[in-house]
């Protein structure tokens, strides 16, 4: 049984990593008060940008950063429409997704099936020797190891830095931030662009580490799952990790089941993550308190005279 479970858990970590990056990115954006439904499109574009950069420069690290930058760019676009132009946040996010998926499929055509230099798993010195835990957590590629640190940095940023408090205040009550001498719109831009960076990293992971080939539909709905997970996580990074790995596990399980060959039709198996997302939302709504969400989430900041 262990022979099945441990590799599954290891695959869970790998599979959950892009979701973790994306979830934390969306969480950051939402903590600033901006709802971003463009995650799916942003992850896609970032994946392509990362792939292309790695292919052209030969450096997967440059590709990784490029993915983040692509995410920042799309985030800035969403920010411009919502923050400066006061556009409806829900619709803007959807537009970003439509645009992002379109851009990805448009520019990705020549690359389908091609490989690019990516990240490969290696044994983390010493820690990978730990029985069981070493197998599960410390035999992955570098981006996974980085993803272990990101939630901690996230927590530290928001709870132990002044900038983090400023962003939080903006997401709760932009007028209070303004009255305190801060610039809520600038802070929102920061949240959207910073969050976009993390989302982009998640997308980059997909094309540089999760697989090394370019294919269509790489994001596979993970962007939407990330949005749901932010709610599930009650806007706290610790629970985001739990949620990301939960979905990572389901997706890994699904793949294994398919590979092993089952009687279940593949279509029904593929439904699993989406059904689970709905269940997760039901659970969160049941047990969550209204005070968890940033109070000003989804609203726009009206300009003053």
């Amino acid at each position: 049984m262990w022979e099945f479970l441990i590799p599954l858990l290891a695959a869970t970590v790998q599979s959950g990593t892009p979701i973790l990056y994306a979830t934390l990115g969306e969480m950051m954006t939402e903590k600033g008060g901006v709802l971003n439904l463009g995650v799916e499109g942003m992850m896609s574009v970032a994946a392509l940008a990362a792939f292309w950069t790695s292919l052209t420069t030969g450096s997967p690290w440059l590709g990784f950063i490029a993915g983040g930058v692509a995410g920042m760019g799309m985030g800035a676009l969403h920010g411009f429409v919502c923050i400066s132009c006061l556009g409806n946040q829900v619709v803007s996010g959807l537009a970003i997704t439509i645009l992002g998926l379109g851009l990805t499929n448009f520019f990705g055509v020549p690359f389908v099936g091609l490989p690019a230099p990516g990240f490969n798993p290696f044994d983390f010195p010493i820690l990978s020797q730990i029985p069981v835990l070493g197998e599960i957590f410390f035999k992955h590629d570098m981006l996974v190891y980085i993803s272990f640190v990101v939630p901690v940095l996230f927590w530290f940023f928001f709870r132990r830095t002044s900038l983090g408090m400023h962003v939080t205040a903006t997401g709760e009550m932009p007028q209070a931030a303004g009255a305190a001498g801060l610039k809520p719109r600038v802070l929102r831009y920061f949240a959207v662009v910073g969050g976009g960076f993390l989302i982009g990293l998640g997308g980059a992971y997909l094309s540089l580490a999760y697989t090394h080939l370019w294919t269509n539909g790489l994001s596979g709905g993970r962007g939407w799952i990330a949005v749901a997970l932010v709610i599930f996580a009650f806007w706290r990074p610790g629970r985001a990790v739990v949620g990301a790995y939960l979905f990572g596990g389901v997706m890994a399980f699904q793949l294994r089941l398919q590979a092993m060959g089952t009687n279940l039709p593949s279509s029904l198996l593929l439904m699993l993550p989406y059904v689970l997302t709905i269940l997760v939302l039901i659970l969160s709504a049941w047990r969550g308190r209204r005070i968890d969400a940033p109070a000003a989430l989804g609203t726009n900041i009206e300009p003053e005279g």
């Binding site: 959807l94 379109g102 851009l103 949005v227 029904l268 989406y274 939302l281 005279g305």
Partner: protein, 354 residues
């Protein structure tokens, strides 16, 4: 530098100006992409134009695509008016197609007079139910409808795949995933000799019906009033919960009808290629049309024509079909940005008097 001032009166022709501006802007930007692909911009634009409006067959094609788009958009608009973000038109469309197929495959020999209405009824029921699920989740469990409707999209498409690869697969199709062709009684035929089918008339009836409903009935009024929020609805003793469910049913039902029409008239069978993203484009259409039925007619024709034009680009210049998505996304973003000017205007800052 500029100062931002709130308008006291809404800008009369603003919506139209913004739409035109957005179109021009998006065409210009996406044309740049053509350059990137090594194609001539003007040739591309010409082909796009020809494909959208230049020929009779283009207009025909646009009408054909406008029909399902119109129905989906009506549904989306009706829900959006109540600030219920129904992103699930795509899935509701699929369920409608499934419902229609079910009837068509089960009763191929019934006379069209009976079979057709049966198909439409079942399409409405399945599409409506698919939308009702997230509605109930929202009302009873406060589940965010954006994500639940979206997840149901994915599930619906997989359901369609499942049926078409499995139980409903046409034994004579050599392994291609599709159902048998519908009997003639189950197919909506073209008007006269043209390819444009009677679905167009159906659209007209539904559109006018919805417009009249919104304008003249009590329920239509309550729907409109609830758009301002659940609190006001409660104050006015409007039964908000019932209204939400009614609206979502309607929304899903309309999308379901779109699926029924497409399956019956255009494809004549159920197959995965049915799903071309009408449900998502419908959101763009609904927003451009500011959620009003009359405008939706124009906007859906416009975006349908664009789709046909992009198909033409694909054919003539081998431009990937995703070009259409890029255009749609850009148009929606620029309209959103432009709508800033409906509520505000910029005035140059006057220098301070010392």
């Amino acid at each position: 530098m500029f100062k931002i001032i709130k308008r006291e009166e809404p800008w009369k022709w603003g919506a139209l100006v913004i739409l035109l501006g957005a179109l021009l802007f998006s065409l210009a930007v996406s044309a740049l992409l053509l350059v990137g692909q090594g194609k001539d911009v003007f040739e591309g634009l010409n082909i796009l134009w020809q494909g959208s409006f230049g020929h009779l067959w283009a207009l025909e094609g646009a009408l054909l695509k406008a029909i399902p788009l119109f129905l989906c958009s009506l549904g989306v608009a009706v829900a959006f008016r109540m600030q219920i973000w129904n992103i699930g038109a795509e899935g509701q469309f699929a369920l409608g197609a499934i419902g229609a197929t079910w009837m068509a495959l089960s009763f191929p020999d019934l006379p069209a007079v009976i079979l057709m209405p049966l198909m439409f009824i079942m399409a409405f029921i399945l599409g409506g139910t698919w939308a009702l699920i997230p509605a109930i989740l929202k009302l009873k469990l406060r589940v965010n409808e954006i994500i639940s409707t979206l997840m149901l999209n994915y599930i619906a498409i997989l359901l369609l795949d499942y049926l078409v690869f499995g139980v409903w697969k046409d034994p004579t199709s050599f392994g291609f995933p599709m159902t048998s062709e519908f009997s003639s009684n189950a197919i909506i035929h073209g008007i006269g000799g043209s390819k444009v089918h009677w679905g167009l008339l159906f659209c007209f009836v539904v559109g006018v019906g919805l417009w009249a409903f919104m304008r003249f009935t009590r329920l239509g009024y309550e729907l409109q009033a609830s758009g301002e929020g659940a609190r006001v609805a409660k104050y006015a003793k409007i039964r908000y919960g019932m209204l939400v469910m009614f609206v979502m049913c309607l929304s899903g039902g309309f999308a379901g009808w779109a699926g029924c029409v497409e399956t019956s008239a255009v494809l004549n069978r159920l197959q995965p290629s049915l799903m071309v993203g009408y449900g998502y484009t419908a959101i763009v259409v609904a927003w451009l049309a500011r959620l009003e039925p009359l405008n939706i007619a124009f906007a859906s024709f416009l975006l349908a024509a664009l789709r046909v034009g992009v198909e033409n680009l694909q054919l003539e210049l081998q431009i990937p079909a995703a070009y259409g998505s890029i255009l749609e996304g850009l148009i929606l973003l620029s309209v959103l940005a432009g709508q800033f000017f409906l509520t505000y205007k910029l005035e140059p800052k006057r220098s301070q008097v010392k």
